[in-house]
Symmetry: C2
Subunit: 227 residues, 2 copies
């Protein structure tokens, strides 16, 4: 069993996670969610990233989380453009998103007999989302063992979150070492109609700061830059 | 916060669970999943059950689990018609289904500020599915606290599984006491083209045995009866 699933949003973190999973010797099956997110460019970026890094397969799973709503990413709400307030969960939090996506990945893992699921969450330079913390990952892994036929057969599906304690700068350095071209990736929550990253949303801010700290240049174009 | 979500498949168990949730004083928001299941009559039954029992709202959530497959309920496989073998998980197990459905319910609970999710799993007269056991429910509840904004705010969403240790006969008796008319419900995994329950699949067998043990008559018509 050398198969792993990698959740691939098309952003910087998931692209790096995919490169790490490959470097660790797994046959990686990429899984992208078209969940009705505001930035449709994400799915396009995921297709490019998977093609460039190379995967055993790539599935785009449709699940319209606009049926639930409750987030600036799935509702017609304004995406915040100011500096995020530390210790708060911003309106871009999508209710239970990582639980939902990992659950679908878990079902898929059972079907293709994958022993691992990689997810690019990190809890250092992040937006304070509860479902990006190590304790969430540990609890999900425990659930996975109880929830599945594989678990009943004694096979524990492992949840790998290799970025969880890395800074954004470290993630970028690691990806660059592994040959990830971040020009394929897309992180913005609120792109312009022509598909340019805004440069002001929390995701753009975290990304731009990461490149700055890593001493590298972000290869993607921006509409404007936050201060 | 007197809102609860109740997962409502349209089967006997979920109808009883809905009646129990109502009897416990909750404003119940029913949540039905159209997940590409073979028995499309399930969703129709859920609509009838919700209308008859009475709910605060009823949402039908679309998520096509045929994208994952791996089950006789979501693939073009034959539904087993023989007596189930104790201690094995049959081919009607849908990989990670209850994890996926509870995750979506969790996101919805955050949006409507529901403090509880009711699910009609039971681990006595059941098909041996791993995601119907008490330890699965406990692990999911723990995850729910870590995964969500509500959890971060100190609000623990509770997962109620009131049928978990009841026999099928006990479930039927309890529902009958609460006024559930099981003629509204639909349990068959493999109905005829005209929508009749087959009477032979494991779900029909468990249901028919339950009525027999409860000393009650199942009001729905069957195509044939298993021995």
């Amino acid at each position: 069993m050398n198969r792993a699933i990698c959740l691939l949003s098309g952003g910087l973190d998931s692209a790096t996670t995919l490169a790490i999973a490959k470097s660790e010797g797994w046959a990686v099956h990429a899984l992208t969610f078209d969940y009705g997110q505001r930035a449709t460019a994400e799915v396009q970026a995921a297709l490019k990233v998977a093609a460039h890094i190379g995967v055993a397969s790539h599935k785009v799973f449709q699940i319209d989380l606009r049926q639930i709503g409750g987030s600036a990413l799935t509702e017609e709400w304004e995406v915040p453009k100011q500096e995020p307030v530390p210790g708060t969960i911003p309106s871009t939090y999508v209710p239970a998103r990582n639980t939902i996506l990992l659950s679908c990945a878990l079902g898929y893992a059972e079907v293709i007999r994958a022993a691992a699921i990689y997810i690019g969450v990190n809890s250092l330079d992040y937006s304070g989302y509860p479902d990006c913390r190590p304790e969430f990952i540990t609890a999900f892994e425990r659930l996975a063992g109880l929830a599945t036929r594989m678990g009943s057969e004694g096979v524990q599906i492992r949840i790998h979150a290799p970025l969880i304690s890395l800074s954004k700068a470290d993630i970028i350095r690691r990806g660059a070492q592994l040959g990830v071209d971040y020009g394929w990736t897309f992180s913005c929550y609120d792109p312009s109609p022509t598909g340019l990253a805004c440069g002001l949303c929390e995701s753009c801010r975290i990304r731009l700061n990461g490149f700055k700290e890593a001493g590298l240049v972000d290869p993607i174009p921006y509409q404007s830059y936050g201060k």
